[in-house]
Amino acid sequence: MAAKVKTAFLLAGGCAGCEMSVVDLSEVLVDVLESIEIVFWAPTVADVKYCDLEEMEDNSIDVAFVDGMIRNTENEHTVKVLRAKSKVLVAFGACATLGGIGALGDLHTKEELFKQAYQDSFSTDNPDGVMPSPEYLLDGKYELTIPALLDNCATVDQIVDVEYYVGGCPPHPKFVGQILTSLLAGELPPPGSWITSGKAVCDSCSRNPVRNGQERLPVGEIKRTIDGTPDPDTCLLQQGYMCFGPVTQGDCEGSCLNVNMPCRGCGGPLPGIKDFGARCVSTIASSMADDAAVDQFIDKYNDMAKMFYRYAHTAGSLNRKVAALKDK
């Protein structure tokens, strides 16, 4: 029996949803575990410590998956360590590849974020306005440290080299299964690639009008998802619901569309596209009938950055540079 593939999972600044997707493989996972050996899965699943990872030999891990963006000093440190220990590093899911939802925090200053999180939010009870500080001396003798928030969010590849990318928030379990299978089979694209079908959501969407031999018509009236109930058989974009399916990698097989919700782009841009948000603007604006529709759109969707960079803010060509300026 061939040696098992040594595999690691690291959750950086994320929600662990991507790991849920791995677990959602259920029986498939059992089969896969025949072939792989989990050497590290922290902080979520396995009882291992960071120091265990640090003690491993360099390049001793065959494949490491990182999910979540790099948000604090802990993420930054551990991902660097993991990189050194791993032959192949996979940025796994929307946060790791593009920044994810959490990256939208970069549109605000750190002070605003702290104030909102520790003071102003509805469920917070913090009458003294205590803010977390990286170092704290408890009872005058216990020196406690917590990781410090970085100035800006980063994708994994902005910190360390990455061999492969997998999109999705989270990646669809079925797709995760395919990836693991192809990994084990050694059927990998050239390093630097996304592991993807390379096709947009529209390609697998049953509502795509041109797949049904119909014409795609310009969008005249713009709707938000709260405006009425979309017809479940007609293209959402065509109905005026701003769906990013044309612009987004469709390895999810249109999960959201199947429950009548428009795509918001978690799969990331199609291969060769430099900036998800900008390309999305170009495509979506082009699909509108006229300037009046554009005005209506701007009127209804008030924050374009959070609209078009919902999952891809940090990877945007300008955003990280702008974010770096915001506290100055």
Binding site: L107, K274, D275, G277, A278, R279, V281, S282, I284, A285, S286, M288, D290, D291, A293, V294, D295, F297, I298, D303, M304, A305, K306, F308, Y309, G316, S317, L318, N319, K321, V322, A323, A324, L325, K326, K328
Partner: protein, 137 residues
Amino acid sequence: MSFCPNIVGFACQWCTYAGADLAGNLRAKYPPSIKLIKVPCSGRVEPEHVLEAFAQGADGVLVGGCHFGDCHYKTGNHKTSQRMKIFAKLLADSGFDPRRFRLEWISGAEGYRFAEVVEEFTKELQELGPNPIKEGV
């Protein structure tokens, strides 16, 4: 001391690029801030192109096309208008000063107007100062 901003201009070959050539024929003076990239139609300009120019440190970006009704390709400029309207808002909402980005309709007959637009845009950029991300990164 004012600086000479670096403006990357995308100009459709039928109108704005021709207008810039006419400015030359008329010897209309304007600052050497702008450098044009010729495109067949303003509809060829992608928001990515504009973003890239800013990311690379351009102080201003101008996209120039034909007036409505004047597009050599009938409706290309309408699509430009739609895209750039949303894109300008995206820039603003992303925290980048949208005044650094201009969309102008300048016909091939408007040589003086081309010069005026560059003059005015240059002046505005001088007031805004250099693209902050140049120093920021």
